[in-house]
Symmetry: C2
């Protein structure tokens, strides 16, 4: 146990630097020494200490992900999917992943600063974008390689991001409902601090405007990004004397909550109530009825984020481009637009 580079060097009759060079596959090293050192490494069952290496190289070949303090937020099915995309790229590019879960006694700003300065990671992927998040100040100040999944607040300029065009996406979703004949449409969104909520609400409003439909603030619900939030939000909307006939939910999980509430209150979907979601998580196609939703291509979001981060780590001096991932309306059954002869031509028709 605990065989180190010196042991190998000694046994092979060379210096530690030579062993180091063999490990690094240094070009100027004689074939025979290389051979000999490799043999000894096998013999002694030597494995390099990555920590020691990181200390001197100041890099760890590891991408960091900050698990939000509110941990359940991380288990919206959106995140496992993003993680999947990140993992695929990380694996193929030779990077490991570090999930920072500890330090949860600190706030997000401090946690970010800590994880960055701890030197355990070479870059950071930020999973959510909140208005006035002090975390952005840290990232801009430290100039640490990072990619935000989502849109940064307008005050933040220098941060690389990968996002969807959520305003358009929500515009299209709302328009879909309008074209199906709805003119009283509710909006169930996450916390308004989330940029994604703001953008999707904006698209909703723009679609109403474009159709010259009135905007009624009583139809707007801001809840938490969990199924329960969609549930109670839906209850409130159904309790209105003039209830909406259709719902834009800014997240599939909220949509499921809304569907559950509607079901329990005796409404049929889509006959009595149309519901459209966002993200197209794997569950969406399997729910009953299958959920019409806007796919944001989650896995691609994760893949691209990892790619951009790795490029940034490898070529820090280059100018890197933020990017928009496309979205598509996925028409299933929860809005009643599944009639094959229905005139509206969906982007994607599924199941």
């Amino acid at each position: 146990m605990g065989v180190n580079i010196k042991d190998v060097a000694f046994r092979a009759g060379v210096s530690p630097s030579t062993v180091s060079r063999v490990i690094a596959d240094h070009p100027r090293i004689s074939a025979e020494t290389k051979e000999r050192v490799l043999t000894v490494m096998k013999e002694l069952d030597y494995h390099p200490n990555a920590i020691a290496r990181s200390l001197v190289k100041k890099s760890s070949e590891t991408l960091g992900i900050l698990i939000p303090n509110n941990i359940e937020e991380f288990f919206n099915p959106f995140f496992p999917e993003v993680l999947r995309g990140i993992t695929q790229v990380a694996q193929s590019e030779g990077y490991d992943l570090f999930l920072s879960t500890s330090l949860n006694h600190l706030n997000d700003r401090e946690r970010t600063e800590n994880i960055i300065r701890s030197k355990r990671i070479d870059g950071l992927i930020i999973l959510t974008s909140k208005e006035n998040d002090p975390l952005f100040e840290v990232l801009e100040r430290l100039k640490f390689p990072s990619v935000l999944i989502g849109r940064p607040p307008v005050t933040v300029s220098s941060l690389l991001w990968i996002n969807n065009d959520n305003v358009s996406a929500s515009f299209e979703a709302t328009q879909h409902l309008i074209e199906l004949g709805h003119h009283r449409i509710g909006f169930i969104g996450g916390n308004h601090d989330f940029i994604v909520t703001q953008d999707r609400l904006k698209g909703y409003q723009q679609a109403l405007e474009a159709a010259k439909l009135p905007f009624d603030p009583r139809l707007i619900i801001a809840s938490e990004f969990i199924e329960e939030g969609g549930y109670t939000g839906m209850l409130r909307l159904l309790a209105l004397s003039d209830r909406p006939s259709a719902i834009v939910a800014s997240d599939d999980v909220l949509a499921f909550g809304a569907m559950r509430a509607a079901g329990e209150m005796g409404y049929r979907i889509p006959e009595d109530l149309a519901i459209i979601g966002f993200n197209d998580i794997p569950l969406a196609k399997l729910s009953n009825p299958p959920l019409t939703t806007v796919s944001v291509n989650i896995i691609e979001l994760g893949q691209k984020a990892a790619e951009m981060l790795i490029r940034q780590i490898q070529y820090p001096e280059k100018l890197h481009q933020s990017a928009i991932i496309s979205h598509e309306l996925v028409i299933r059954r929860s809005c009643g637009a599944w009639n094959p002869v229905f005139p509206y031509q969906p982007t994607v028709r599924d199941r």
Copy 2:
């Protein structure tokens, strides 16, 4: 940028050791020096270098998870759920998570040895148990803190594990189908190298025996642990001249594949074909029809694994107990036992 412990020491007019003691909250340190050092740390915006600390302390407060080489295996919904349990406990106990994805050019044995010897993690959680997996030899030899989720092969004695009683679980699942009147029951399992497949197959066989039903090897399908495997497996079973009337699928994802195949071939579930799954992933309650399955309490599995691992890291000399997590039959609609007056009394009745 890059302020280190020496900078702090200098500015505070003390030695690096003193600063180190302040960081470690060492008892024998005067209140005033402590105060002064803390102030300077804030002033200089000092954050400790975790890598350097790990190097000397030989520990990293990090739990490792080896992402399987076959990465899609990791995205069976079982794993995100396990990860969720692990994350919860890791967070509350102050451990971070390291997902080893790189090194995928190596085999699992080498990857395991590498990650352990790299010193980046204090303990390892193994997500799957395969017969004759050379990984176990490594773990036993290195005596590295680790917990296996699943049952180790009988040849492996010294490894801590957390598991379900899969034989009983499968016995009960099969028995449920038998009690519903089925006597020709197919089994769609994962690769037979997986211990979990072996155990669940065994429970299935025992239930047939107990009911004096014949065992027909043509009714046994071994596929990959992916939806597609369940799909093709089901097609093969349906093509039999004497097709089964019910299916035990050793994984919910396989069950979904089977359901899809059955649906496409024109069979109704549960009227024409009963299907029972395993794990109770979140999707199971939402499928159409909702899937009857055996809950293995995935999150608890992950939580307990993390707890056991952390205990083992903290008290390596103690004797640690492996454990069994309970399971429950969750009766939904895919087996036709949803009639409230049906005599069979399910463990859990859901939706």
